[in-house]
Symmetry: C2
Subunit: 318 residues, 2 copies
């Protein structure tokens, strides 16, 4: 494990890949290299990119990465894939699109599945971001699908959050209105070569103008066509400008602090949850018995849960 | 609170609305009526409906409900809305579309926000399902947006899971392939009047034929146009048939049992998480101090989390 740490700092990509896999699997052997890498973190610009399925996020990330590479910036990409709760099969299509980037030594791409524990993914994603940060990437892009709670949590932790939309999605605009408006630092209308893109652009612009944001800043709205690269140069500029803005206003430090506290809380939650789960697995009869009592309507689920917790506490004391 | 319980069983809709609000807010006064209602649960057919934003889910749920009402079945609807993590603003558009149902005494519609704790939503949703079940609804429909982990968790707990797709979404089909394929009992291609719907239909059909399902059953694929009601009668039939199939094969009891154990585990997780959060809120200096040590790179987040947990345990002992 000492080995993986040194190899990673020497620029060995396989060491990076292996450590992220270990983190993803919850391998306890990852702890030591992660601990030692920590002092090398804190330099990367962390960019979160989210949007509905079909908005062309992955193509945009790929196109954006090419532009950033043209400016001699190195890029790490963590793509959060929706994964089957049963088989763990990941989406390959998006990754294949990124294949032309995979041969560039200045780019490191990694998919992570949403399989497994809820808290687990956020923690593993943070660890992976920190690994790519320590690996020396100038930007680390975290790409998530959709606007679920986990996606929002992940994107919230970025320095710069980019929300990707596409023309036509009425429901989508409402989702932006409700959920993502306040967390986006940069907004994109992708597929801007479509006929109805003007209307979507205007609608989002109006929404942005009306919304009261915590930082009092009007976030830029960029039109892109990810497949041709149109507008992607502007997008790159706007993302880099946001980082400069954060630095200049003394907000980068504040964001970094928030990120660390959130990271701490997530790790604490995950670990406590795991401890409880382990205790329950050690005592399957207890859960079975409660299930039966609830099923026969003798007790309700909340009372059943209380009894299980009391039982676990008693065992812990004994 | 005794009052809310009796009023609910007497058919008072305001009592239902109030109890669901209490559950959503984590009001401890909800515990007693929920406990007493439990013996009246277990009769409703629980239907989960999920799909990407823009697939027309809400219109379909509304259309489906009308068909079910035509068959003299009463319907409860719980619509999970993506809600802002900051302001808690909910999406109103979808709900407005359902307005024509709101005056029908045989229908009860309720939105629930995804705001608040991760585990909290699943627990509150289950409680709301149980409330509508005890209220005597023949079917309880839980409608969720997207295919995030929480949505999947919620839909998994239904007796019948319906996955709604629409023509054209290449990414969406991949998402189905990866994540939702195995949990769907019924598949729908909505907006089937669109030109490219045939291709989507064939693609999903092929996927369903190729996939190995746990239950060895080939799930039906239905074409609908929610806005006109086309195909919705078929959809209603297929959903009701699935319930009959579960009953006939002795699988309904198995599903009910799984649902109860999952419900128990979720309540346990939520309660333990809340206890930890409360302990942390009582001790903000500790979290602050750890944050600073992590920020200055003196310790890494995982070691910081360990120190906080040790500190909490020590305090708990003292």
């Amino acid at each position: 494990m000492d080995d993986i740490y040194s190899r990673l700092l020497e620029g060995d990509r396989r060491a990076v890949a292996r450590l992220i896999t270990m983190v993803e699997n919850g391998d306890p052997a990852a702890k030591e290299p992660i601990r030692r890498l920590h002092e090398h973190t804190g330099n990367a610009h962390i960019v979160g990119i989210t949007g509905a399925p079909g908005s062309g996020k992955s193509t945009l990330v790929s196109s954006l990465t090419k532009v950033l590479r043209g400016r001699d910036l190195s890029v790490g990409i963590i793509a959060i894939d929706p994964t089957s709760p049963f088989t763990g099969g990941a989406i390959l299509g998006d990754r294949i699109r990124m294949q032309d980037l995979a041969t560039d030594p200045g780019v490191f791409i990694r998919s992570m599945g949403t399989r497994g524990a809820l808290g687990g993914l956020s923690v593993a994603t943070n660890d992976a971001v920190n690994i790519l940060d320590a690996f020396g990437k100038d930007l680390v892009i975290v790409e998530t699908v959709g606007a679920g709670q986990i996606e929002v949590e992940i994107v919230k932790l970025a320095h710069t959050s980019v929300v990707v939309t596409m023309p036509g999605g009425g429901d989508e605009i409402q989702a932006i209105k409700a959920g993502i408006m306040e967390i986006g630092d940069v907004f994109v209308v992708n597929k801007a070569d479509r006929e109805d893109s003007g209307r979507t652009y205007t609608e989002i612009l109006m929404m942005l103008e009306m919304s009261e944001r915590r930082d009092g800043r009007m976030p830029p709205l960029v039109r892109t066509v990810a497949t041709t690269g149109e507008g992607v140069d502007d997008l790159a500029q706007v993302i880099l400008d946001h980082h400069k803005y954060l630095k200049h206003e003394g907000l980068l430090e504040k964001k970094a602090k928030e990120r660390i506290v959130a990271e701490l809380l997530e790790i604490i939650n995950m670990r406590v949850g795991k401890t409880v789960l382990r205790a329950l697995q050690d005592d399957p009869e207890m859960v079975d018995l409660m299930g039966k009592l609830v099923e026969t309507r003798e007790i309700d689920p909340h009372s059943g849960a209380s009894m299980v917790i009391r039982h676990l506490l008693k065992k812990g004391e004994g």
